[in-house]
Symmetry: C2
Subunit: 470 residues, 2 copies
Amino acid sequence: MHDYNDTICAISTAQGQGAIAVIRLSGDETFAIIDQVFKSPKAGKLLTNQKANTVHFGTIYDGHTDIDEVLVSVFRAPYSFTGEDIVEIACHGAPYIQQQLLQLLVRKGARLAKAGEFTQRAFLNGKMDLSQAEAVADLIHARSEAARRVALQQMRGGFSNELINLRAQLLHFITLVELELDFSEEDVEFAERSELSKLVTNVATLLTKLVNSFSLGNAIKNGIPVAIVGHTNAGKSTLLNTLLQEEKAIVSEIHGTTRDVIEDTLNIEGITFRFIDTAGIRKTDDTIENMGISRTYNKIKQATIVLLMLDIIDEDEKIHEAVADVKAHMEAHQQLIVVINKTDVLDEAEIKERFSKTLFTELSQNDAVVPISAKLQTNIEALNAELLKTVNTQAIDNDEVIVTNARHYEALQKAHEGITRVADGLTSGISSDFLSQDIREVLHYLGEITGQINTDEVLANIFKNFCIGK
Amino acid sequence: MHDYNDTICAISTAQGQGAIAVIRLSGDETFAIIDQVFKSPKAGKLLTNQKANTVHFGTIYDGHTDIDEVLVSVFRAPYSFTGEDIVEIACHGAPYIQQQLLQLLVRKGARLAKAGEFTQRAFLNGKMDLSQAEAVADLIHARSEAARRVALQQMRGGFSNELINLRAQLLHFITLVELELDFSEEDVEFAERSELSKLVTNVATLLTKLVNSFSLGNAIKNGIPVAIVGHTNAGKSTLLNTLLQEEKAIVSEIHGTTRDVIEDTLNIEGITFRFIDTAGIRKTDDTIENMGISRTYNKIKQATIVLLMLDIIDEDEKIHEAVADVKAHMEAHQQLIVVINKTDVLDEAEIKERFSKTLFTELSQNDAVVPISAKLQTNIEALNAELLKTVNTQAIDNDEVIVTNARHYEALQKAHEGITRVADGLTSGISSDFLSQDIREVLHYLGEITGQINTDEVLANIFKNFCIGK
C-alpha cells in the first residue's frame, strides 16, 4: 500500500504542452531534495531557509547541466495543502522538460505520487475530512455551475461538521448506555432516555434531509437524463442542434476551451441535461421495429424527464395515441414534457384554435405542453424553463447541503435505517445492549462518511479515481 | 495590432483537466482587477498591499458566489517575467472552473492575451531581447535534450550579447565614417581604417561561426533526417521497431508522459533522428516500380544520413550493386551507413569470413559499416554511435553558441554578405558613402536578430507561433 513517510512528486497541471507546468513535491525530504537541484542567482541561497508562502526564481540543474529556469513556491508544514513541507516548481511547459524534472526529483529521492495521494495525505494529516477530500476530486471534475458550486461547498465542510457533531453526541450517549450494561442487574439508566430521544430525532431529521437530497445531487453530478421520444420527422434532431449550437457558441467565445464536448449533453443555467435519443414509437406488427420500440420504453424508464416531440400538423388521433402510449410507460416520479413542434407552419390564430381543441385529454396537471418552432428557434426559453422546473435550483442557489456522492448516499441510507431502529427501540423500551448495538451501527456509518472510521481498502478505492498530482 | 497598455490574462498551463491550472494576469490594472475578485480569510487583506514574490490563499468570488479556492502569487513591476505587475492564480484544474475565472477577469477589465503576448511584453519592456524571447517558445516546444539545452542557452543570452556588443562598435565607426561625409571635400578620415578593419574581421569571424552552426542547430531543432534504404526483407521495420520500442519503454516508465508519440522519430542521447521510410531499390523494367524507386532517390536527397540495410546472406553481386547505386545518388555532405543485418544466422567465424571479402570496394573511408542483428538486438549500440557521429555533440556539450532559428540564420547570412562587402571595400579603399551604406546594412540585419530593429509585422509573425499564456 502507500508509504506515508516518503516524499512524493507529480506533475499537477494538465498533460501535454503548455506555457508553464507545475510539479509538486511534498514530504519530510522536500527541502533536502529541492536544494540538491535548485540554485538561485544569489549564491548560497537555500530554499530550506526561505519563509513559507514565498516564490523564488532560479535554475534546476543536474550535475553540470542546467535543466530549466523556474519559479519555486515554498510552503511549510503544517500550513500547506497536505500538511507537509511542499514546494511547487513552475517550469517551462514542454512535456520533455516536465519529464526531465520529474525523473531528476526521483533520482534525488522522491517517489512518483499515486493518484490522489496529495489529497490523501491532506486527509491523513487532518487537513480535511474524507468527504472534503472527495469533494476536491469532484471540484476538479466539475463540468457545470451547479456541480462546481456543490463540490466547493462540500470541500469547505458541507454537512460533515454537522455529522461530526451529532456523532460526538451519540458517542457520549452510547458510553452511558454501555455503562448501564455493567450494572445490568441493578436496572439503572445513566443515559437519560428523553434526551437520547431528542438527539435521535435530530439525527433522523438530518439524515432524511441528506438522503432525500441525493436525487438532486446525483442529477447535478451526472446530469439529468432526458429521453427524447417522437417520430424522426417531428424535429427531434433540429431541436437538439438548436440547443447544442447555442451552447457551443457560448463556449467557443473563449480561447482554450476544453475540446472534448460530449454530444447531446446540455448545460442550461448551470444544470447538465443528458439527452437520450430513442427510436420512434408507433403501433406496428413489424418484429424488428417492435424490438426498437421496446428499447425506447426501456430508455423512458431510465429518464427523469421524458420529452415527447410532436408535429403540430399531426392528426389528432396520432397525438392522442402517442401521449397515451408514453404516459402508459412512465412512472409517477417522472416528468413529461410534450413539445409541439413546427409552430412556424401555422399562424397564431390557427395555433390557438389547435390548442383549444381537447387534444391533451390524456395529460394530468403536472404534465407540461410547450409549443415551439425548432427551425425558427421560437419559444426555446419556455422549453428550457420547463426542463429547469424539474430541478430544485433554489436548493442550489441557497447553498443547501446536497449529497452528490454515491458512497455517502449509501452510508447515509444505512445510518438512517439504523437510527430508525434506535428510535423504534426507544419507543418500545428495548434493553440497553440492543440499543447500544443499533447506535454503534449508526456511529459506524456516520464515521465512514467523514473518514473517522476508514480502512486502507476504502481509502484506496476513493483515491484511485483522483487524477495524479492532486 | 496589440495594445500594450491594457491588462491581459490567459490560462498558462496545458489545455484540459489537471489537478491544478494556472491563470496569469499582467498589466497596470492587475491588482485593481484581482482585488475585485479575491478575498483572503483575513478580512480586509488586499493583494495590492502584499510584497512581491509571495503566495496567498483565498477565494475567487463573483458577487455573492464563491467560484474557487485558490493560491495567488504576487509579482511586481519591473521584477516580473513581463516587467509589469503580475499575479498568477493557481485554481482547481477543471476546465469549467478555468473558463469561469477567465471570463470573470475579462468582465472585471482584463483582455484575453494573444499568443505569446506575455513574452512579447517582456521583450517590449526590455526584459529580454528578441532572440531570447524566441528561445522561450523553443524551450516550450523542446522535444529532446539537445533542443532543450540549446533553447535554454539562447534564452539566457546566447550570442545576443556578443552581437549587441559588436553592433555597438560598428555603430560607433559608422558615426565617424558618416562624419567624414560632411567633410567630404577635405578628405579627412575620422574613422581609423585599421581599427575598423580589425572590427570587421571580428564581426566576420563571429558571423561565419554562427552561420555554419545552423546546420547543426537545424538538426537539433527539427531532427536529423535519416533515409532508410533497403529491401523489405532486409529487416528495416524490425530495426525501427527495436529502436522505437526501446525509446517507448523509457518514456512509459513515467506517468503522465505526453501521448502524441510521433512514429519513426527517435531520440538517441538527446538528439532527434527522423527516419524516412523508402521503397526498396533494385534494377527493374517495371514502370510503376521505377516510379517508386525514383521517389526513393528523392528521399535520399533530403536526408543527412542514408542508412542502407543489407541482408548478410545476400549475394555479393547484390550487395555491390546496392552500395554502388545508393552512392551514385548521394552527395559529398551526406553520411552513408551500411547496416548488415541478420548476423544471427551466421556464427562468428562465418561473419568474419564474410567481412574479410572485398565486399565493400565501393565504400570510401568516411562511409561506415555496422553488422547487426535487428532480431536479437545485437550491436545496436554501434549503430547508435555511428548515427551520433554525424552530429557535433561536443559543440552541444560545451554549450557552444548554435543558431537554431531560421529567421536568425537568414539575417546572419545577409549580415555576413554585408560584412564581406565592407571588408572588400576597406581593402579596395572605397569611398566613405559606399562604406557607410554597407555598414548600415550589416547593422540592420544584426539589429533584426536581437530586435533592436523591429517592425510590428516582424513581431506579429514571431509571436503568433507561441502558445497562449506565455
